[in-house]
């Protein structure tokens, strides 16, 4: 019973907030020309599907996010593991990675446009570059937080480095790696949609830009809803994957 109570409460809370917003706009507490009524947003969705090719744009955004997120996770975990493995490299470059995480790479989009052309590649590269540092940092922290007693046990059993990595470090740091994966997807999607919006190219971000320029507010917010849908798909898949791995481990 407890299992289903919490998620139901969550949904209930969200629905209540939506209804509250509908009421607030209706009585004029919130300007209806800045935030459209949830009912109008819902009504705009079918129009997006039929007139604005939302389905194909959805796939473009999903594809770019998957590419950026997967790359960031693979490269980021590898780099994080490398930094952990060689303490001198970690001391030298972990601060640099932390700085990159705070750098407004998105603002340098003209540079990326020139380097990679006006295509999905630019979107993916900027999203990859933005998502990489958080994953690296998270991986390093995760490996570093593995309890020393576990490593001591491994050494006393005569494990080599490879075995130590596979049997102790990776499983113990797995939650951290999955957090890193979440961060990669989160930063990846936000930057993919953000860059699409900025340079008006490709998927859902370009659609949001178009609709907001046309002052189609319900459409704009509906398109944002579709972005949330992309988010839901990725994270639901991730949660499922994590649960499956845990059962195996």
């Amino acid at each position: 019973m407890r299992q289903t109570a919490a998620p139901l409460l969550g949904i209930g809370l969200v629905v209540s907030l939506v209804l509250l917003l509908q009421w607030a706009i209706g009585v004029g507490l919130v300007d209806e020309y800045t935030v459209p009524r949830p009912s109008e947003i819902a009504a705009a969705l079918p129009r997006l599907v039929t007139e604005e090719h939302v389905a194909s744009r959805f796939m473009v955004t999903v594809g770019e996010t998957f590419a950026a997120g997967a790359l960031a996770t693979l490269v980021g975990t590898a780099l994080g593991a490398a930094l952990y493995r060689w303490p001198l490299m970690r001391r030298s470059f972990e601060p640099w990675v932390a700085v990159l995480a705070a750098a407004p790479l998105v603002l340098a989009y003209p540079l990326f446009l020139v380097l990679f052309g006006r295509s999905s590649l630019t979107v993916v590269v900027i999203a990859f570059a933005s998502a990489l540092p958080p994953v690296v940092l998270q991986t390093v922290t995760g490996f570093a937080a593995v309890r020393p007693v576990l490593l001591a046990v491994g050494r006393s059993l005569g494990m080599g480095r490879a075995a130590e990595f596979r049997r102790i470090l990776l499983p113990a740091a797995l939650p951290s790696v999955f957090t890193g994966l979440r961060l990669a997807l989160m930063f990846g999607l936000i930057n993919v949609v953000g860059v699409e919006f900025l340079i008006n190219l490709g998927g859902l971000g370009a659609l949001i830009n178009d609709l907001s320029e046309r002052y189609d507010l319900p459409g704009t917010w509906a398109a944002i809803g579709v972005v949330v849908l992309v988010s839901v798909c990725f994270f639901a898949t991730l949660d499922g994957g994590e649960r499956w791995l845990r059962r195996r481990g």
Binding site: R2, D31, A98, V99, A102, A103, L107, V230
Partner: protein
């Protein structure tokens, strides 16, 4: 002086120097190769001139102060709310089960689309920029803090409860110290996102701030100046990161190390 000595002793000087030289050489080669549009990939000399132009411009420092203030306020508000919510989410499995997935789903939405709403409630001045930064950093800080709290060793919790510690005592004496280091990591991330949020907001509707200057420089296609501004921003971010990093290391070391 002490920092420089520390740098040399830790052995990080050589790798960093090597990496810097490599990166700068690669950039210069790319710029001079003629393969790319020279204006957008300027040689190092032009970059240096742009950087100098920014630093020597008295108008820049006033704008930098404005952005810095907005950022500080955004971090304070978004960070505090994110940590508070994260502590709750981490400690209460029920609330986490109810709401955390919504937070994760909402986190990757482009917050810039909320900007018109924020202007409506917080005005066209610094208020909306602060709000933008706060909203941007709330989610990463929340999720990192929740994960950090969940990572607290259950043994510590059992020990605390065996001493009949109250909930607030457990919060302050077990959760906070154990979660501080990963939490500060979350704040580091939040800082970056808040900075980007504030700068993007300043490019949208403003008449002051570093984001405004970036927009002006690009609109005139003064790329060396734009890069100069971005380099200064990155250096500033570096400085803040070093500070947070120090704080994180001291926190992780524990109270005994701190007393020393």
């Amino acid at each position: 002086m002490a920092a420089a000595a520390g740098l040399m002793r830790s052995g990080t000087l050589l790798p960093r120097l090597a990496a810097s030289v490599l990166l700068l050489a690669a950039w210069q080669a790319l710029a001079l190769s003629g393969l790319l549009f020279r204006d957008v990939v300027p040689p190092l000399g032009a970059l240096a001139a742009g950087l100098w132009g920014v630093l020597a411009d008295p108008g820049f420092w006033g704008n930098a102060l404005v952005t810095g203030g907005e950022l500080a306020a955004a971090l304070a508000i978004g960070g505090a709310l994110g940590i508070a919510a994260g502590l709750v989410f981490g400690a209460s499995a029920f609330i986490a089960a109810a709401l955390e997935r919504w937070m994760t789903w909402l986190a990757p939405t482009p917050k810039i689309i909320l900007f018109p709403v924020l202007i409506l409630f917080c005005g066209v001045g610094p208020g909306s920029k602060i709000a933008m930064g706060a909203v941007s950093c709330f989610f990463p800080v929340l999720l990192s803090t929740a994960a950090a709290v969940r990572g607290v060793d259950p043994v510590l919790l059992r020990v605390a409860r065996s001493f009949r510690a109250r909930a607030d005592q457990i919060l302050v004496k077990v959760y906070l110290p154990a979660a501080v280091a990963p939490m500060l990591n979350g704040v580091r991330l939040g800082f970056g996102v808040a900075l980007i949020g504030v700068l993007l907001a300043e490019t949208k509707l403003s008449n002051q701030g570093v984001g405004f200057l970036v927009m002006q420089a690009y609109a005139r296609f003064d790329m060396p100046r734009m890069y100069g501004l971005l380099i200064v921003v990155v250096c500033f971010a570096a400085a803040i990161n070093v500070a947070i990093g120090h704080a994180a290391r001291r926190a992780a070391a524990g109270p005994i190390a701190r007393e020393n």
